[in-house]
């Protein structure tokens, strides 16, 4: 909730005086001190060991700090005014440099201007980018090719999660806002099993999928089935999933902390095919998700269980009347959905986001919903197609001119536009939806 309660918290904590994790963080006191706080890199990928120097306007050094694993620095000042902040390029990892700030903040010699006011914290942006970052060098066609493959990779991994989301929606009518936390859970378990406990990565992937499937089973047993029996409305159920999602997010943060955790420590070999460069594991991950999605598709189309699932999707009452155990099917759907999301989560953490954080899932939740809605709410194959489309849009938005984080916004914008013309989605049947 902004700076406001946080400062209140810090204020109270400081008065009480016990040692705590943020003891060194500068606290601005009204009319007495001003602060310059911030992170080198960003919260998701902080830079350790960067030497940050604070200079006054004339360029005289005032203080210098070396960042720790969280990338944080914090200077306390007792005079308001303009200051300069600088990061020693030699202290950064070889392949990184500080992203130049907007013109208004550029100081001499690569320094960044900060305006310090007493009683306030100034937060200069010290984000990093790759040294070989350049708009020239690769041809436009090559960039598009690279983005298309990256888009397919993202799409296939999103599909693992969104198919489950769509199946749950189809069989129960529930928009599950906590589904993204199953994705995070997959990554977190991967971090715990492979990184902390030192398990083999492949074994870890299998175990993560199984454990996540078990959590889906348990969730339906403990929460969702009893609530269905109570006859709780869908709107109310949806709000319950929001509560669950909040509780799970902060539980991850409680247990693992705020920083990005890597699933495995080592880096992977890079394979270049034509203009496309990806890690070897990326290709493997794409293969895994294709096979798994194919298997799910086969089960849905060719087996009695799949037929029963589709029957429940179409009309639960009629399915029950024709002898299908609806509760059992829904239990199975929850189990499979959670397992797929967990698999998607660990693969996503391995090849796309390069690690897992408490809010990794939250960041892709809307992409999942967009994929499901785009393809047509409740249709598994729609979710697959929708995921690929969303993946491609997100990755292609950058090279086609959308700046920074706007690539996610573009995907969501296209979703809204599509709903204008085709509310049933790409593959949904045109029925009355309101």
């Amino acid at each position: 909730m902004g700076v406001f309660p946080l400062l209140a918290l810090l204020g109270v904590v400081t008065v009480q005086g016990p040692a705590h994790a943020v003891a060194s963080l500068c606290l601005a006191q009204a009319d007495a001190t001003g602060c310059v706080n911030g992170t080198v890199g960003n919260r998701a990928a902080p830079v350790e060991g960067a030497v940050v120097t604070l200079l006054d306007e004339a360029g005289t050094e005032i203080e210098s700090q070396t960042t720790e694993a969280d990338g944080k620095f914090s200077f306390t000042l007792d005079t308001a005014g303009s200051y300069l902040i600088k990061v020693d390029p030699a202290s950064l990892p070889k392949d990184l440099e500080i992203r130049p700030p907007a013109a208004a903040f550029q100081g001499p010699d690569g320094a960044i201007k900060v305006e310090v006011v007493l009683g306030k914290s100034a937060v200069p942006a010290l984000e990093v980018r790759s040294v070989d970052y350049s708009d020239a060098g690769t041809s436009f066609a090559d960039k598009i090719a690279q983005s298309v493959v990256q888009g397919l990779r993202l799409g296939l991994l999103l599909a693992l999660a969104s198919i489950g989301l769509s199946l749950i929606y189809g069989t129960t009518g529930l928009s599950n806002f906590a589904h993204a936390e199953q994705v995070t859970l997959g990554g977190m378990l991967g971090y715990g099993l492979c990184n902390v406990a030192g398990l083999n990565m492949w074994l870890g992937i299998v175990l993560v999928t199984l454990i996540c499937a078990a959590t889906g089973f348990a969730q339906d047993l403990v929460i969702w089935q009893p609530l269905r029996r109570r006859g709780l409305g869908l709107t109310q159920l949806m709000i319950v999933t929001i509560g669950l999602s909040l509780a799970l997010q902060y539980t991850f943060q409680y247990v693992v902390g705020n920083s990005q955790k890597k699933v495995v420590v080592e880096t992977f070999d890079v394979v270049t095919i034509g203009p496309v460069t990806l890690t070897k594991l990326s290709y493997v991950a794409m293969g895994i998700s294709l096979i798994v999605i194919g298997a799910v598709g086969y089960v849905l189309l060719r087996t009695r269980i799949g037929q029963a699932t589709r029957a429940v999707s179409d009309n639960p009452a009629l399915a029950a009347a024709s002898g299908i155990d609806v509760d059992k099917i829904i239990r199975l759907v929850w189990t499979v959905a959670a397992g797929l999301a967990g698999l998607g989560g660990i693969l996503y953490a391995l090849v796309v986001s390069n690690g897992i954080r408490w809010d990794t899932g939250m960041q892709i939740l809307l992409l999942l919903f967009a994929a499901v809605t785009l393809g047509g709410l409740g249709t598994a194959f729609g979710a697959f197609v929708g995921s690929l489309v969303i993946g491609l849009i997100v990755e292609l938005a950058g090279p086609l001119g959308a700046p920074g984080d706007l690539k996610y916004a573009v995907a969501l914008g296209i979703l809204i536009l599509l709903l204008l013309v085709r509310p049933q989605g790409l593959l949904g049947r045109a029925t009355r939806v309101g």
Binding site: M1, G2, V3, F4, P5, A8, L9, V12, V13, Q16, P18, A19, H20, A21, V22, A102, A104, V117, K120, A125, S175, L227, R230, G233, T235, Q236, M238, I239, V240, I242, G243, L244, L246, A247, L248, Q249, Y250, T251, Y254, M362, L366, F369, A370, T373, L377, P403, G404, D405, L406, Y408, A409, L412, G413, L415, I416, L419, L420, P423, V433, G434
Partner: protein, 395 residues
């Protein structure tokens, strides 16, 4: 014990902070959407962000404050029209997905580096750049002021028993107010005299007096985080409550509830359901924008501080207080903010670091919020003040 009382006091301060007043106004708007019309708006934080940006940027660009407020409200109207047009004819969850997506798009756009000169990018706009006209408009003068001037320190040298007594009286009065309030709503509360509404108003005033007697707070009269901001914030809350109350008991409000209960029935009575929903969406969205302005007046406009989670907190606060109850948003939001602060501070103060570090107690308070939201919806969907019969609707 002193530490405990101090923490309670800081909980009270949080409940009356300007930012809380801002969120209360936004939750009142959400109540109009969700409680009275049954619209699943998951983008209330987006409305708040639009209001805040519209207000702050207009002032920075040199417009007078009144015009800046109108710009913020106007942006909210446009946003509501754009969101409502494609979705209000569809099933409810479409509106949910579109509003949450649109709010996120706003947040992403707001923090774009390319717009840094305009929105301040991810660093946001600093309060000092836009709150000068607001502070200048104050008629409270300089200096500091303690509320209440007559407090526990004036009796028996501020002995502990005076404070505890004040606290007990305050709690008793609040319980009384809640019971009378529920009684008015359901028509079978405690038969306190023949004039429950008068009892209610007097009870609210008396409980405020008792609270501030027990926990006197001192702020600057005018400064950005002083009494002026609180006075304006809570006056706006009162106005928003009055407007909602008048609207909801009007014929228009009854049709609105009809739409919530059964759209098709309303349609068959010849009502334009789409138009009604749109009106509710626009009105609630304007309240959201106004709330956003109050929310940022004593801090800063930062896209990330008005993200999705603010919407979810607003829902928690609304369901806690009671959806479709006029005073639900006020009670729910105050309890939500104060409660979260109390959980955090108490577990930070009384649990040793080996069990829960101070950082973890912050996260613990959010875990409690999430679980509370689940339990509320399952076991007490009407919240503290609501009426269960009014919340059976489905979208």
């Amino acid at each position: 014990m002193d530490q405990f009382l101090n923490i309670l006091g800081s909980g009270l301060e949080e409940a009356f902070a300007p930012a809380t007043a801002g969120l209360v106004i936004a939750v009142i708007g959400l109540n109009l959407h969700f409680g009275f019309t049954g619209l699943l708006n998951f983008g209330q934080a987006g409305f708040m962000l639009l209001g805040a940006y519209g207000f702050a940027i207009s002032i920075i660009e040199g417009l007078p404050m009144l015009l800046a407020v109108l710009v913020g409200l106007g942006l909210a109207i446009v946003f509501a029209l754009i969101l409502g047009a494609p979705t209000l004819k569809l099933r409810g969850d479409y509106l949910a997905i579109v509003t949450i997506s649109a709010a996120e798009i706003l947040r992403y756009v707001g923090r774009l580096n390319q717009l840094e000169d305009f929105t301040g990018g991810s660093q946001g706009l600093f309060g000092k750049d836009y709150n000068k006209p607001f502070v200048d408009a104050s008629f409270l003068g300089d200096g500091r002021f303690t509320l209440s001037p007559f407090n526990y320190r004036d009796i028996a040298d501020g002995a502990l028993w005076v404070r505890l007594l004040g606290l007990a009286v305050a709690i008793a009065l609040i319980v009384l107010v809640v019971r009378v309030g529920r009684g008015i709503k359901t028509g079978n509360g405690p038969a306190l005299a023949g004039r429950p509404r008068l009892t209610l108003v007097l009870g609210i005033l008396a409980s405020l007096v008792a609270l501030f007697f027990t926990f006197p707070v001192t702020y600057d009269a005018t400064g950005i985080d002083g009494w002026w901001a609180r006075l304006v914030g809570w006056t706006l809350v009162a106005i928003a409550l009055l407007v909602t109350w008048l609207l909801v008991r009007s014929p228009w409000g009854r049709v609105l509830k009809g739409v919530r209960e059964d759209e098709d029935a309303m349609r068959s009575l010849g009502k334009n359901v789409f138009l009604l929903k749109m009106q509710a969406l626009v009105l609630g969205g304007m309240l959201g924008a106004l709330g956003g302005m109050v929310y940022v007046i004593s801090s800063s406009v930062q896209a990330d501080s008005l993200g999705r989670s603010v919407t979810f907190f607003a829902y928690t606060a609304l369901l806690l207080g009671g959806a479709a109850a006029i005073f639900g948003p006020v009670l729910g939001t105050c309890i939500f903010f104060a409660g979260r602060l109390l959980i955090r501070e108490l577990s930070a103060a009384y649990l040793p670091d080996s069990i829960m570090s101070d950082q973890q107690s912050q996260q613990f308070s959010f875990i409690v919020v999430g679980i509370a939201l689940m339990l509320l919806v399952i076991f007490r969907p009407q919240g503290i003040l609501g009426d269960k019969r009014e919340l059976r609707f489905n979208v």
